[in-house]
Symmetry: C2
Subunit: 361 residues, 2 copies
């Protein structure tokens, strides 16, 4: 899958969490992002709004995006509405993009390629509709095959959604590769798949196949590597997404987990779910280790470090939050974006040494 140059649709949402596909594309595929479409910030750069990403321009219309040099080859839907259906308000813009010669890439649950109107127009114009969340047709029920990897399996897990599970895995990959460790990344969500160029969106497969899909991406990404980083999803405590999380845990059967969290978040994110309060992080850690052990009784996986997303705190508050979680958990803790990922890398490498030693005769 060759990744084209995108204009990223984030109308009305750039800079907030529902536009995390847009933000992550800027962080991990900057050379592929031609512009961001959000009329609220016309004539700004992305750095003006999110603090990184350089001079990538924000535009207020598709025609403005098309006029840039070099221009986009595709429109990427950079917003993930809950439930994942296409807002009807976007249909006109997708028509315009196809007519202007762009492909359309999407991570929505409802596949654009199954929309009769859009697929007919794309076919007539010779354009592609790429559904990042479309699973392969031949998935099976999981049977614990991930245990066969010689690579150390590392899963990022979360107290909640939107707390940095993909980002932590990608920062870990960058740093491990810089140190010469052969590293694979098993993408399990639409943005991860966009960045990795492969993977399966495990929240978009039939529920019987979540762990089977996870073991498949894990085995593929683990080939010829020393460490495979598996992108986590959701939270065991999330009343809407916990199924995905437990299936992922029992499909990946990690020897090593990194807990991702936001300091001070006292309940599950989003107005539909905030009736579920979140326990202290040491209790979250215990729950993940226990739930993993149910289907992996012999070589239980451990949470070896905590990754905090502190972007909504100032520098002093962020440092204090890291210190507090170190005190509370006794584990290495960092915000990989703000303070660097090194403490987590060290913890993963120590776990790899332990697992390797235990496996030797």
């Amino acid at each position: 899958m060759r990744t084209p140059r995108f204009t990223v649709l984030a109308e009305g949402a750039f800079g907030v969490e529902t536009a995390k596909t847009a933000t992550s594309a800027i962080r991990y595929l900057p050379e592929r992002v031609s512009s961001i479409l959000d009329s609220r910030f016309a004539a700004s750069t992305v750095t003006d709004v999110i603090g990184f990403g350089g001079a990538i321009p924000i535009v207020s219309s598709l025609s403005e995006a098309l006029a840039l040099e070099p221009g986009p080859e595709a429109l990427l839907i950079g917003i993930a509405p809950q439930g994942g259906t296409l807002p009807e308000a976007w249909r006109g813009m997708l028509h315009d993009a196809l007519k202007a010669g762009l492909d359309v890439w999407s991570g929505l649950h409802t596949h654009l390629s199954r929309d009769p109107d859009l697929s007919a127009l794309a076919a007539a114009l010779g354009r592609s509709l790429v559904d990042l969340r479309k699973p392969p047709p031949d998935l099976v029920v999981g049977t614990g095959l991930a245990q066969r990897t010689t690579a150390l399996r590392v899963l990022t897990v979360g107290s909640d959604c939107n707390v940095g599970k993909m980002t932590t895995a990608l920062e870990l990959r960058r740093e491990l590769e810089e140190r010469g460790v052969r590293t694979g990344f098993a993408a399990t969500g639409q943005t991860g798949i966009l960045i990795a160029g492969s993977g399966i969106a495990v929240d978009a497969v039939l529920s019987d196949f979540v762990s089977g899909a996870t073991e498949r991406v894990t085995l593929e990404a683990a080939r010829d590597t020393d460490v495979v980083l598996i992108e986590g999803q959701g939270s065991l405590m999330h009343p809407g997404y916990s199924a995905v999380t437990l299936g992922l845990l029992h499909g990946a059967l990690p020897q090593c987990m990194v807990l991702c969290a936001m300091p001070g978040r006292g309940s599950i994110y989003g107005g539909n779910h905030d009736w579920v309060s979140l326990p202290p992080l040491e209790e979250v850690i215990r729950r993940y280790e226990e739930a993993l052990s149910w289907a992996h009784p012999d070589t239980p996986g451990k949470v070896v470090a905590v990754s905090l997303a502190t972007y909504d705190l100032d520098e002093e508050e962020a440092k204090a939050a890291v210190e507090e979680v170190i005190r509370m958990t006794g584990l290495p803790v960092t915000d990989p974006i703000r303070f660097g990922v090194e403490p987590i890398v060290a913890a993963v490498e120590a776990r790899r040494a332990d697992v390797t030693a235990a496996a030797s005769p």
Copy 2:
């Protein structure tokens, strides 16, 4: 959905666990079962093979099934192969059934209505293909709505697959209704849907929607009732199906659970999964209560009774197994088929009294 009179395809599998749709149809819809198709037992009755079901004949061919009076109106696929795809060996018989004027009902994952060959033939002949596992198109992410029922929510949970979760719920329904308690049954699997005439197969929905689908069937079945019995699926310990189980638990948010188990089963059923050993039942109970509490911290649900499937034991062994589990758990225990469901009904009614009292001002 009017339920037709069936000939039930169970070729090579009648009497074993993969044919549980056939067995359950005989137990709960006997007046709808015209014959069972399994050439191994031609000229026998179902009672000869499974010990109940009366004089329903077993036939060795479709033409024999069609010659019966009154004859079948539909062929029901009564076997659930793991993974749920249509064995190619059955295609010819499905053709013959459609040509003979029968509809075809199926609980397979792969929908017959999406099979180009079968759907073209059915359309040409004016026959119907009914996919019991086909979910409604408008599912959403779960948000805890099940908590709104005034009916007591009772979920059957299991140490494993094939341990009586649907049967226990249906036996409970029968006995509660006999006592004048208004009772709903929320079907979550293909056989339950066949028997109830409605429901959603939660193992066949996208994983993001498991808890949302569960809360929808729970709310529908709970209307104008005192107790809603929710059919459980899988096991928290099952490496292939645990995603479905946790999503169901967090969608149903039961105040009351009944644990279903088979005495002496020491590991997860099936050669692909038996590397996962099962803990003692009191530990299984603790795990369900804990996992439920993660998304339901305020009014935690309790396991109030244990339902044992003892069909592979003799009478003395079965009694000993019940006594042992009573000693181990301190809970009411029975095999609802062999010894009657009354001890479980009493436990559910006691829990209903407690929950009602706690809700009163």
